[in-house]
Structure formats: C-alpha cells, structure tokens
C-alpha cells in the first residue's frame, strides 16, 4: 500500500516450518483410533479459552479502573491466542479440511465442548474475577501437567500457554484476596460471586470416556489427579481472602463438555458468529 512500511514475515514462515516438522514427530496427530477422542478433547481446550476469552473481552473499555481495562484485554487476548493453537491442532487432527476459524465460527452450541463455568455471564467484577480465579487455578494445573504430554504438539502449546496462565492465576488470586479482605461491600460481593459459581467448578474434574482415552494415550493427565492441587490453591486463597468455601455441592452443574450447555452459550455464539453466518464464504 502507498506510504506505509511493509511487515516482515520471516517469523511466521519459521513458525509454520517448525509446526510441520513437529507434526511429523507426533504420532498422535495421525492416530486413527484416537482421532475422535483427541479431536473432542482439543475442542474442549480450545472452547474453554475461546468462550472465557469472549466473556472477558466484553469488559473492554468498561473496567473499573484503567489498569483493569488493560489487564482484562490482555487476558482475553492471551486466551484467544490459546484458542488459535488448540483449535488449529484440533482441525489438523480432524483432517476434514476445516480450519480453527471454521470450528470457532461455524459450529452450533451442541458441538461446543467448553465447561459451563466459562460461559456464565460476567455479572459484576466480583463474578468475573471469581469465575476466572477458579478456572485459572485449574487451568494452571492442567497446563503444567500437559507440558509433559506424550504429544509433542500438545506439550508445546501447553508450554506457551502456561507462561501466560501463570500470570492470570497470579493476578486473579491476588485480586480475590484483596477484594475478599477489602471493604465490607467488596467482601460481600466476592462471597456472593463465589456462592454463585461454585456449583459449576466440579465439571472441570468430571472425567468421561474422552478424558480416559487421552489420559490412557499419555496425552493428558487424569483430571481427578489435579483435584487435590486445585483444592489446595483455592483453599489457601479463599482463606487469605477471608471467604467461606460454600457448603453446596461443587459439581451441581455439568454437561458442557458433552455439548449440553446453559442458555447463555447460544447468545454468545449468535454474537460471535454473526459475520461468518451472515456472509458465508467471505474472506476477512
């Protein structure tokens, strides 16, 4: 274009070459017997990042203080970046000619594999932060375990994502402590938020045949193994935040991973997929 400088592309080319080389060394990517489970599991990873990233991005420009506007946008950006990697690999494993964008923008709710927790509406900053903290604490443990995955491609994505998710957890747990032990009002809001989302956290650790298949292949850890680590982190942070762990069951709501969602997801998709649906086949 006239009068604007060119962008350098060698980095992108190098990355693409490295990904191609890694694929050749990753037997799981072309494992026919594992394909359905691996694809579904990768969609779970990608959809969690996509839907949580979408929710957090709704805050853009509406945060309570400028630093939070920046942090929220940054977190959403990280999560969308992870989505590109997870859904990109999912599309490769599926081998049906679909792209990460096709998966994100052209599947309907029943094909989405994210946890119900991440699709819950933002509410106030207390709900947004508590939802993120409870997910971050799980996400951190999961990605840490995934860096040792038997799939080099998965391990590589996990290592990249873990760097960012370590910051997410540091920030969200710090804010949960500060607001829990802040004013009477901030304490009450954080406790109400915790009570509201608590029943959605158990789904993170609920294992099904998909989880078993990828665990058996050494791709992912058994989710139940992560539970004690999550409980310890959550217990410590809530205690420091002077918040009470709710007595209600933590696994009251599940089904998202199998495509049975809350009513909220349909509205997220209606908004997110609008352009791709309204102008099929257009390039953006």
């Amino acid at each position: 274009m006239p009068s604007l400088p060119d962008v350098a592309t060698p980095d992108v080319v190098t990355l693409a070459e490295r990904a191609a080389a890694a694929q050749a060394q990753d037997p799981h990517v072309a494992d026919v017997a594992l394909k359905t489970a691996f694809f579904d599991w990768l969609c779970r990873m990608g959809d969690n990042s996509l839907i949580l990233g979408h929710r957090i991005s709704e805050w853009c420009g509406h945060g309570p203080v400028l630093e939070e506007d920046i942090a929220l946008a940054n977190t959403a950006l990280d999560l969308i970046g992870h989505t590109q990697m997870w859904l990109g690999l999912a599309a490769e494993v599926e081998g049906a000619g679909r792209s990460a964008d096709d998966l994100a923008f052209l599947r309907d709710a029943m094909k989405f594999r994210n946890l119900k927790l991440v699709e819950l509406p933002n509410g106030d900053m207390a709900v947004t932060l508590m939802r993120e903290f409870l997910f971050d604490a799980f996400h951190f443990e999961l990605l840490t375990a995934l860096t040792k995955s038997s799939s080099p491609r998965v391990a590589e994505i996990a290592a990249k994502a873990l760097k960012e998710v370590s910051y997410h957890l540091e920030r969200s747990s710090d804010l949960v402590v500060r607001l829990g032990d802040g004013t009477e009002e901030s304490h009450a809001r954080m406790q109400a938020a915790l009570n509201k989302v608590w029943g959605y956290t158990g789904e993170m650790f609920a294992e099904d045949a998909i989880d078993d298949a990828v665990a058996e292949a050494g791709i992912a850890p058994a989710l139940s193994d992560l539970l004690p680590f999550w409980q310890r982190t959550v217990g410590e942070v809530l205690e420091e935040a002077t918040l009470r762990q709710p007595e209600q069951r933590f696994d009251a709501h599940s089904g998202g991973k199998q495509g049975r969602h809350t009513e909220h997801l349909g509205y997220i998709l209606a908004e997110m997929q609008f352009l791709q649906r309204a102008y099929p086949g257009a390039s953006w």
Partner: protein, 332 residues
C-alpha cells in the same frame, strides 16, 4: 489528533515577558526539553494539562467504538489483533495520564473533569461503528489522522509528553496498518464487503477531517501553543497533509472519497478538497453528536459501578500497611 480546540493562554511579546519567562522561551527556542520539576509559566502548565488530559481521555473513550466489535470480529486473528489494539489505546491513556500527573494534576481529578463534561475528548469518538468495515476505517483514517499530529509532537518541548508520544507513535502506525489491511480485504472482497468498505469511508471521511480542529483562521489558541512547541503545526497544514496522503490510499483500494470537489492542484502541489461541516463539528463538541451520550454514559457507568472495586483495593492496601507496621513494632 486527539486534542481539539485546546484553550491556550494569551501570547506575550519578549518585552512583556518577565526574565524567567524570557529564559524559558529561549530554552524552548533552542530545542531543549522542559522537565517536570523545572520552572515553567503557569499558562504553559495549564495548557499542557488541558491538551494531554484531552488526549488521554480520547484514548480511553476511544476504546468504546472499537470495543464494540471485539465480540463480533469475524476471525480469531482479527479478534486478537483488535483486542491488542484496544489494549494499546488503554495503555496510551495510562502513559498520558501519568505524563500529565508530572504537571501536578491527579488522574482522578482529570477523570472527574471528563465525567462532569468539563474536559472533552476527540469529536471522532462520538460517531458510531456500524459494520466491520468501520474497524478498518477507524484504523486507517482515525489513527491515520492521529499520527499526522502525533509524529511532530514527538519533538514537543515538554519531556514526559515527548517521550510518551514516541512510544505511542510506534503503536499507532501499527494500528493504521491493521486498519488498512482490513479495508484491503473488504475492498477486494465480495460486493457486500466492498459496499461496507465504501460506506465506512463515506461516514468517516469528514469526521476524520474534523479531527484536526477548525481552520487556523478561526483558531484563536494556536500562536502561543506553537511558540511553546506544544503544538507543532497548524490545523490546516496537518489536514492538508492528511488529505494528500490518504487520497492515493483510497484510490489504491478502489474506493471513492466522498468529495466531488476533490482535485489535484498542480500549482499548489496539493489536493483541493471540501471543508467538513463545521456546524456539525461544533454540535458534536457541545455534546449533541450521534453517540455522545452513549460514550460518556458508558465511561461514567464504568467508573460508578467500579467504585466498590477501587475502594476494596484501597481498604486492603491500608490494612496491609497497618499489619506491616504492627509487625515491625512487634519485632522491635
């Protein structure tokens, strides 16, 4: 350019200046940077606070029209780029509020003035973003116009402002590129996409020209600000430069600038172009633009609803400081 019609203090001749003022002006004339703790005329300080504050407000209000499309971005890559861009805008706001704080005004005071309407933000952000092509037009035209003003401001006389501008300009040129990349995709896309691109140019052309502020002949504040090097070019110079650079870019896209009088003037070596509707500009500045209420309303609401959050953090910090002090006493 995100500062419009910034009121400057009256201009003095060298004979009217005090010895301090004269020494100050000589430093500015020599191209020296003025730093926060150094003596400066009260008018210089006040004008800078107005200008930098308005610029900072524009950055944070400017998150809204683009934030409007983040959840509807058409691909993951476009979504990521737009998020990064809007995050940059918030970051620019932060640099500029921090730079303004070195002049003795707090960020909260400036926010208060934004929310009460005592301080303005750029008129451009009171226009709606109606289609995805607007993300292209905003990056290409709005950031493009901003760059015209901000590049020279890297050489402004006030040190912290100059340094903030150097960082901001690096990011803004990336923003303009991403906007133009969106426009290229749309202009070369389906007939519907091309229609959206043309419509976006039609709607954003004149509001972009307004960003430079009224014509110099009607601009009463320019001379003093230029002497102080906090305004580096006249409004008309920058507007002309913007038109001269943008028209070939529009041609390259195959889009038509919505100005029938637009014509290359061989003699001047510039394009002749139609002035925007200045009555509309003054209405927007007064608060009667298409989105003034929504934009300022959204910022006020974010601030009001965030009060408990900010209070909570402050209360915790105070408690933590008290606990530290108590444990220090116990240790002694």
């Amino acid at each position: 350019m995100y500062a419009q019609m910034v009121k400057s203090e009256g201009m003095k001749s060298p004979e009217e200046m005090s010895p301090e003022e004269r020494a100050f002006q000589e430093r500015v004339d020599r191209g020296e940077k003025i730093e926060p703790k150094e003596w400066m005329p009260e008018g210089y300080r006040k004008t800078l606070i107005r200008q930098m504050g308005q610029h900072a407000h524009s950055e944070i209000v400017g998150q809204l029209p683009e934030g409007n499309w983040i959840t509807r971005a058409p691909t993951l890559e476009r979504k990521a780029i737009l998020l990064a861009k809007v995050q940059d805008e918030a970051g620019h706001g932060l640099y500029l509020y921090s730079a303004a704080e070195t002049l003795g005004v707090s960020r909260d005071e400036l926010m208060e003035k934004l929310h009460s309407g005592a301080m303005k933000y750029s008129s451009i952000f009171n226009y709606p973003t109606l289609t995805w092509a607007d993300m292209g037009a905003v990056g290409w035209l709005v950031d493009g116009a901003a760059i015209m003003n901000q590049v020279p401001l890297q050489r402004t006389s006030y040190g912290p402002y100059s340094r903030a501008m150097i960082r901001i300009c690096k990011e803004e040129s990336f923003h303009q590129r991403q906007g133009y990349a969106i426009m290229m995709k749309m202009a070369q896309g389906t007939p519907e996409q091309k229609e959206m691109a043309q419509d976006a140019l039609n709607r954003f052309w004149y509001p972009s020209l307004m960003m430079f502020g009224p014509s110099d002949k009607d601009s009463v504040h320019s001379a003093q600000s230029m002497a102080w090097k906090i305004k580096m070019n006249t409004n008309d110079e920058l507007r002309q430069k913007f038109v001269d650079e943008t028209v070939p870019q529009a041609k390259y896209l195959g889009l038509t600038v919505p100005d029938e009088t637009l014509k290359w003037n061989e003699e001047r070596g510039h394009y002749d172009f139609a002035e925007p509707d200045w009555d509309e500009f003054f209405e927007v500045i007064k608060g009667n633009g298409p989105c003034n209420e929504e934009r300022l309303g959204a910022r006020r609401e974010a601030w009001d609803k965030g009060a408990w959050f900010r209070d909570g953090l402050t209360a915790y910090a105070e408690k933590a400081a008290a606990r530290r002090a108590a444990s220090n006493v116990a240790a002694e």
